[in-house]
């Protein structure tokens, strides 16, 4: 395997940055100036000494061909991952100005780490071949049973709470405020059902979420009820749906089934954060299988998740799916080469087909918020203020979203149909990147299509061009 001459773009490098300040700091180090003794193995490993403000330069090593995604090591004290020096080194390498010559032997300080990593990857592979032998299957079974009992108690209690709420009427929910829900969510955490706890917490936010909240509250209550019932009757569900219920409730699951090797294009990467956790979502598209897959990676509050993949590049890698019907989530397995640029894009569909796919996916997982789709030949257009922007009656349907003043949609260039953008998407800077990229002409857009509308995540201009990230 050799990757001679295949360099990344700076955009792809910068997409790895854990946050904006590291991106900025790293981009300043992306010039030859501070670097010395830099080199690259030509197989995805690179190293260099970066002059900082101290007398001793930092030792920076990056291995983009690591079997578990890009790996970094730096002697700087930063806890960012990758740090600005690793980004800087990647940028200088991407710049291809000869500062990071290829085909060299790593110096001792880099060779040691690289060798240790490759060795660990090998041993991991061989251990993965043998099934993880649990110490005491009987004890594990008892623990699982115990947990299931607790969740059942939690779900039963939650059913009672929902019942009480609807008995007295949701109109009172506006006054009840957050406290009640927080307490209920805490009970669900005690019941070891984090999935239920998260949904309950969201219920608490709905009454203050603006016009149309009674509709949204009823929907979410109903879906939570459906999940409770699914759990309580899981032994009567088909196995796929039961697995989905288990994972929605919050039981951990392990990826299973045969790994799928493909050239996976990284379509999008974005983070969402709450006070406890940063969740990173990475969308992949397999150019051979035509499959779309989701990688999840988590970081403790305020810290970037460990996995970062460069948007627009393709990975030759194996992924393994998680159980559950219609489940898109996968785990990244072995990577066979460093990510490389690709001109491949997912084929696009029309707006009608996009919503139909979301609808079909709901059959397997009724709790799905959205489904990944690529739209072909769409044009961002501003919707006219067609009706009362308060939309008090029902803003739930896509038609309802149309009524919001100054909102945007992606209109099909040839048919008369369109997908409104989700309200959360219209306040992000990516919206204007999308509009500017289009200039009134059709383009291809990847995003998530759901009942709140379409959230664009990446776009490609009509004639060939690099992936433009909208996250």
């Amino acid at each position: 395997m050799t990757q001679q001459g295949v360099r990344w773009t700076a955009d792809q490098v910068l997409a790895l940055a854990p946050d904006a300040s590291t991106r900025k700091a790293g981009s300043k180090l992306g010039v030859a100036g501070p670097w010395s003794e830099a080199g690259s193995s030509g197989e995805g490993a690179m190293w260099g000494l970066c002059k900082g403000s101290g007398s001793k330069p930092y030792q920076t090593i990056v291995d983009i061909a690591d079997s578990a995604g890009p790996a970094y090591k730096c002697s700087c004290p930063s806890r960012k991952f990758p740090c600005k020096h690793a980004l800087g080194l990647l940028l200088v390498w991407a710049g291809a100005d000869g500062t990071v010559p290829e085909g060299g032997e790593p110096p001792a300080w880099a060779a040691e780490w690289l060798a240790a990593r490759r060795k660990r990857a090998d041993s991991k592979q061989s251990s993965a071949a043998a099934p993880a032998a649990s110490a005491d299957p009987e004890a594990a079974r008892r623990r699982a049973e115990k947990r299931a009992e607790r969740i059942t108690a939690g779900a039963t209690e939650l059913e009672q709470r929902l019942s009480d709420l609807l008995c007295g009427g949701t109109a009172s929910a506006e006054q009840m405020g957050y406290g009640l829900w927080e307490e209920t969510a805490a009970r669900m955490v005690d019941a070891q059902a984090p999935g239920l706890a998260a949904r309950v917490r969201e219920l608490g936010a709905i009454p203050s979420s603006g016009p149309g909240w009674p509709v949204r509250l009823l929907e979410e209550c109903a879906l939570l009820h459906l999940l409770d019932q699914g759990w309580l009757h899981r032994d009567r569900l088909p196995e796929g749906l039961a697995a989905t219920v288990r994972s929605r409730v919050g039981l951990p699951s392990q990826p299973e089934g045969p790994p799928v090797r493909d050239h996976w294009v990284v379509l999008a990467q974005y983070d969402t954060a709450d006070s406890r956790l940063t969740t990173r979502r990475i969308w992949l598209y397999g150019t051979e299988s035509g499959r779309t897959a989701l990688l999840l990676s988590y970081g403790a509050a305020g810290r970037a998740p460990a996995l970062a993949l460069p948007v627009g590049l393709a990975l030759d890698a194996e992924v393994t799916g998680y159980p559950g019907a219609g489940q898109l989530r996968v785990e990244l397995g072995e990577q066979f080469a460093a990510p490389t640029p690709t001109a491949q894009r997912p084929p696009g569909v029309r707006p009608e087909e996009a919503v139909a796919r979301y609808g079909a996916a709901l059959r397997d997982d009724p709790w799905l918020e959205s489904w990944p789709v690529t739209l072909a030949e769409v044009i961002p257009a501003r919707t006219q203020d067609v009706r009362d922007a308060r939309g008090t009656r029902d803003t739930q349907g896509l038609q309802g979203l149309q009524g919001l003043q100054g909102s945007w949609q992606l209109a099909d260039a040839t048919t008369e149909s369109a997908l409104p953008l989700a309200p959360s998407a219209t306040s992000r800077p990516g919206l204007w990147r999308l509009i500017a990229l289009s200039g009134g002409a059709p383009l291809t857009v990847f995003g998530e299509c759901g009942h709140r509308g379409f959230t664009p995540l990446a776009a490609w201009p009509k004639d060939s061009g690099e992936t433009v990230s909208l996250c």
Binding site: K28, C167, A171, V215, Y358, P380, G397, E416, A418
Partner: protein
């Protein structure tokens, strides 16, 4: 309504008496205690709230699964084509990086060793514009946001951004400034040959459009522009007259004199003063002649003393004629009337007056003459203003003197600010040599203003003088932030090829005895930033080759 399938009973055989979604929402809001749905109440074996939740869950999933696409809104008019070639990929990425470095996002305080990317954006834009590249569309929002926050960036940013930026500005009120900054909001001006259209826009256009029209016309058809202005002059408001008059600076010629002479009697004092100023810049004009006579009568060579000496007899009054020709009678607080009037006369008189008047001496010889009775600084300052206004190279050179003279660093007759202006009229190479000489003789602390008027990138001798002086300052043990202004300029103006020579200066020096504590480290940091910035600039230049 194509969005939601109407939940009609016929399509839902499993719930024969399904209540409508609205009924469910109402029942949920009020509570099943108050409002039980008949259809739900009859569900055997289920509490009313549970039955309601069952029905709502079914409806929710049905509603989501049955969503359909919305009708398309009117499509936007496509943006106009940009015929320029797009910037090469490497340059596009560089621009993206420069644009992410918004001010205020960093740590603040000391600048550290990393370059200030935002300061390189103007250079990047200027170069891209010179090379004739067009902007990458997806970066336009960031570019417009940057230009919104920094008015100094706007002209270059908008030129580079091209027609699609105007298209965007019509969609986003945050970027309205782009429409204002572009004459007519991007509506093209009529061609100069299209007389009826020109006349119409002049008579009916908005003020900004009229200024744009006048300025454009003036650049190529000075006479037509003047005719247009004359045609409506008497009906314009005073502030507008001033702006219009100002546009005559472009392409000023003797043909403008009759009009300007009439403007000397304008009702507005500012208009009168501007007219006088314009006329004095026309050496052949009658006003210039009158001023020449007045000024000449005030200055003479006294041959009675040992060496020829200039004597000055300032005017004793400001008569009506002087006032009409733009002399302001009332001096600012703290200045004598007579020297105030003298200054204005000498400033407005053509410099050609002096050679014949003062014994056929060259400007250099005249400037070298001693001046009696402390009039020297007053007289030389007035000559400086005249040399700047008339862009007279010989007089500028004479007044600047030699850079090494002790006088040059002030506070002599000519201030540094005036020297900077005088320098501006000299050819670029001469300017750079003069400033290099000045720095070699007087050091950096006074050189900031002078460096600002030098051509970028700095010529080699100038760059070397600056770097040598910085090096001397470091060896002297002072802190680099005493020179942060010059450092900042050097980062933007030094020739990028100097980076190699500067490399040695980034090492931390041994601290001399009397050095400020830690200064060596800060200097190393400052030089590191300088070198890194120069390398960035070299990279920027290489990434934007002529297309």
């Amino acid at each position: 309504m194509p969005t939601n399938p109407t939940p009609s009973t016929s399509t839902v055989p499993t719930v024969p008496t399904a209540p409508s979604w609205d009924d469910l929402v109402t029942a949920a809001l009020l509570g099943t205690e108050r409002r039980a749905l008949p259809a739900i109440a009859h569900t055997p074996g289920k509490e009313a709230p549970t039955a309601l939740l069952d029905a709502a869950a079914l409806q929710t999933v049905r509603r989501r699964a049955g969503l359909r696409a919305a009708p398309a809104a009117a499509l936007p008019e496509p943006a106009a084509d940009d015929p320029r070639p797009p910037v090469p990929p490497a340059a596009r990425r560089r621009l993206a990086t420069l644009l992410t470095d918004q001010p205020g996002t960093g740590g603040g305080g000391r600048r550290g060793a990393a370059p200030d990317l935002m300061e390189l954006l103007p250079q990047w834009l200027a170069l891209a514009n010179v090379r004739g590249y067009g902007a990458p569309p997806e970066l336009l929002p960031a570019l417009l946001n940057a230009a919104r926050g920094r008015t100094d960036l706007r002209p270059q940013a908008l030129t580079f951004a091209g027609p699609r930026a105007l298209w965007l500005a019509r969609l986003n009120p945050d970027w309205k400034f782009a429409l204002r900054a572009t004459p007519g909001g991007g509506v093209s001006l009529p061609s100069a040959d299209d007389a009826p259209q020109v006349q119409r826009l002049w008579e009916e256009g908005l003020f900004a459009e009229r200024v744009a029209l006048l300025t454009t016309l003036r650049a190529h058809h000075a006479g037509t522009a003047l005719d247009l202005l004359v045609s409506t002059w008497s009906t314009e408001r005073a502030e507008d007259r001033l702006m219009f008059l100002d546009s005559l600076r472009t392409g000023l010629s003797p043909a403008d004199e009759p009009f300007l002479e009439r403007a000397l009697t304008d009702r507005s004092r500012n208009v009168r003063a501007t007219a006088a100023e314009l006329l004095s810049a026309l050496p052949e004009s009658a006003l210039a002649g009158r001023m020449s006579t007045r000024a000449a009568s005030c200055v003479a060579v006294d041959h009675t003393s040992d060496t020829p000496t200039l004597t000055v007899e300032a005017p004793h009054e400001c008569d009506a004629g002087m006032e009409r020709d733009g002399v302001t009678p009332k001096p600012p607080t703290g200045r004598g009337e007579r020297s105030w009037w003298l200054g204005q006369l000498v400033e407005a008189a053509p410099l050609a007056t002096w050679q014949p008047r003062l014994g056929n001496r060259t400007p250099t010889e005249i400037v070298a003459l001693p001046v009696a009775d402390d009039w020297r600084s007053e007289l030389h300052a007035a000559w400086c203003r005249a040399a700047v206004r008339q862009r007279d190279v010989a007089w500028s050179r004479a007044l600047l003197g030699t850079p090494a003279s002790p006088d040059a660093a002030g506070p002599g007759a000519v201030s540094l600010a005036e020297r900077a202006k005088l320098l501006a009229s000299l050819p670029a190479a001469e300017r750079a040599d003069w400033v290099a000489g000045f720095i070699a003789a007087h050091g950096l602390s006074e050189a900031f203003q002078l460096l600002g008027v030098c051509a970028v990138p700095w010529a080699e001798p100038l760059g070397r003088a600056v770097v040598d002086s910085l090096n001397i300052a470091r060896d002297a043990g002072s802190y680099p932030w005493s020179f942060s202004g010059v450092m900042g300029l050097a980062e933007r103006c030094l020739d990028p090829s100097e980076a190699v020579r500067l490399e040695a200066l980034t090492a931390i020096p041994d601290e001399p005895e009397n050095a400020s504590p830690g200064a060596g480290g800060y200097w190393s940091e400052a030089f590191q930033r300088l070198v890194t910035t120069l390398r960035l600039r070299a990279a920027i230049r290489d990434e934007l080759p002529p297309p």
